[in-house]
Amino acid sequence: MNDRTRVRLTVNGHAEQVEVEPRAILADVLRDNLGLTGTHLACEHGVCGACTVLIDGEAARSCLVFAVQAEGASITTVEGIAPDGGLSPVQEAMRDCHGLQCGFCTPGIVVSMTAYLNTHPNPSDADLKEAMSGNLCRCTGYQGILAAARQAADRMNASS
């Protein structure tokens, strides 16, 4: 029953192959098998958003996906959001607007915000609040995060 299965993934552009139990959660595989510890785990049942990654470009909770379900998929983690060595517009905005304190929630925030802004070029403030409602932060009180979302949306819009 605890037979391992081979799972092939493209992670941040690199082809990867892991041998894992079917019950292995994608977040654990990213962290433990592939060493990508930027993806954080807190609640492990879908509520907090810390573990958010992109699966074939769409944001998802990596704690609610078995790695075997992602066979063949392309995964982007927070490590793969920015161009090499730099900061993405979302990351820059998070820094400028004090969108983080302890930073635990930040990878999930950055990935969610990136996914949302990629598909919603012209969001209202209300849209941004709604979009970020699936990511819990215990430190900031959210105002810095929403300011960052506003700045990132405006800059991404101006440069496109």
Binding site: I55, A60, F66, Q69, S112
Partner: protein, 286 residues
């Protein structure tokens, strides 16, 4: 917080899904989007030796329109349904979808999974019940259709037989002059509703020719409010909506849980119904 061991099956055809369910019986469970099943397994509320993953069955991910209904395959992701042109012709479904959790959840969660899971606070079972949708079930004996009114038996209990899957749902399309509203109370955006109402009306001038009102979070299944519907049809577009709300709430026997008391749920129900109907009537007039 880790699920127990299981064997993963990823068939590519519906008949293979059904054969696997027959082979493993009670030891097998369907895995669709996993947005309810994986939390349940992670919390060890349940363990299953075999998961039959239906995500690789192309036939289950199709949406098709007929003149009077839209057929949504079980495995259609909620976020894809939200963006689909055929789904837009079923406005109550289109309006209910964004109320499910957050966009990250809807990118994985499926239309069929939500309805098969039959959580009494969920939106999509209520849409099916409100619109008199037909649930398509596929099992060893082939395909059969179950009326939504007969489908939801209790919390997480449906009329699907062992070995059957929900393969699609047919949502009726209402004609011109119709409007719909979805209203909820939840503590935080994205939480399951404490109480919600989904309503639809068709107007001919000031006459209400068709009405549906369904509530969530107030019982062990979604609840259709037939008396309130009849009162609205009798009263017309200018009926006293507070009164309709009271009629809808009168027979409800909500339960108490950590999120809200039974009395609170009962107390807010008329107002939620009024708001959903107000939105539906406004849309029908426009």
């Amino acid at each position: 917080m880790k699920p127990s061991q299981f064997q993963h099956h990823a068939p590519e055809r519906v008949d293979e899904v059904v054969a696997l369910l027959a082979e493993y019986g009670d030891d097998a469970k369907v895995l669709a989007g996993g947005q309810s099943l994986i939390p349940i397994m992670a919390l060890r509320m349940a363990t299953y030796p075999h998961l039959v993953d239906i995500a690789r069955v192309p036939d289950l991910s199709k949406i098709s329109a007929t003149p009077n209904a839209v057929r949504v395959g079980a495995m259609v992701r909620q976020s894809h349904a939200e963006r689909d042109a055929a789904v837009a012709t079923v406005p109550l479904l289109a309006k209910a979808l964004p109320h499910i959790g957050h966009f990250q959840i809807r990118n994985r969660g499926t239309v069929g999974g939500s309805i098969a899971h039959a959580d009494p606070a969920s939106e999509l079972p209520a849409v099916a019940l409100a619109l008199d949708a037909r649930i398509e079930a596929t099992g060893p004996g082939g395909v059969r259709f179950i009326d939504a009114s007969e489908f939801f038996l209790s919390t997480w209990q449906t009329a699907l037989d062992d070995g059957e899957i929900l393969s699609a749902v047919e949502f009726p399309v209402w004609g011109a002059g119709s409007g719909f509203g979805v209203e909820e109370i939840a503590r935080r955006k994205g939480d399951f509703a404490l109480v919600g109402a989904l309503a639809g009306v068709t107007l001919d001038g000031d006459r209400v020719t068709r009405a549906c009102i369904t509530m969530i979070g107030v019982g062990s299944t979604p609840v259709r409010c037939h008396e309130a519907e009849a009162a609205l049809i009798a009263g017309g577009a200018n009926a006293d909506l507070d009164e309709i709300g009271r009629i809808a709430a009168a027979p409800l026997t909500p339960t108490h849980d950590v999120h809200a008391s039974a009395a609170y749920r009962k107390h807010v129900s008329p107002a939620i119904v009024r708001r959903a109907l107000t939105a539906a009537l406004k849309e029908a007039r426009s």
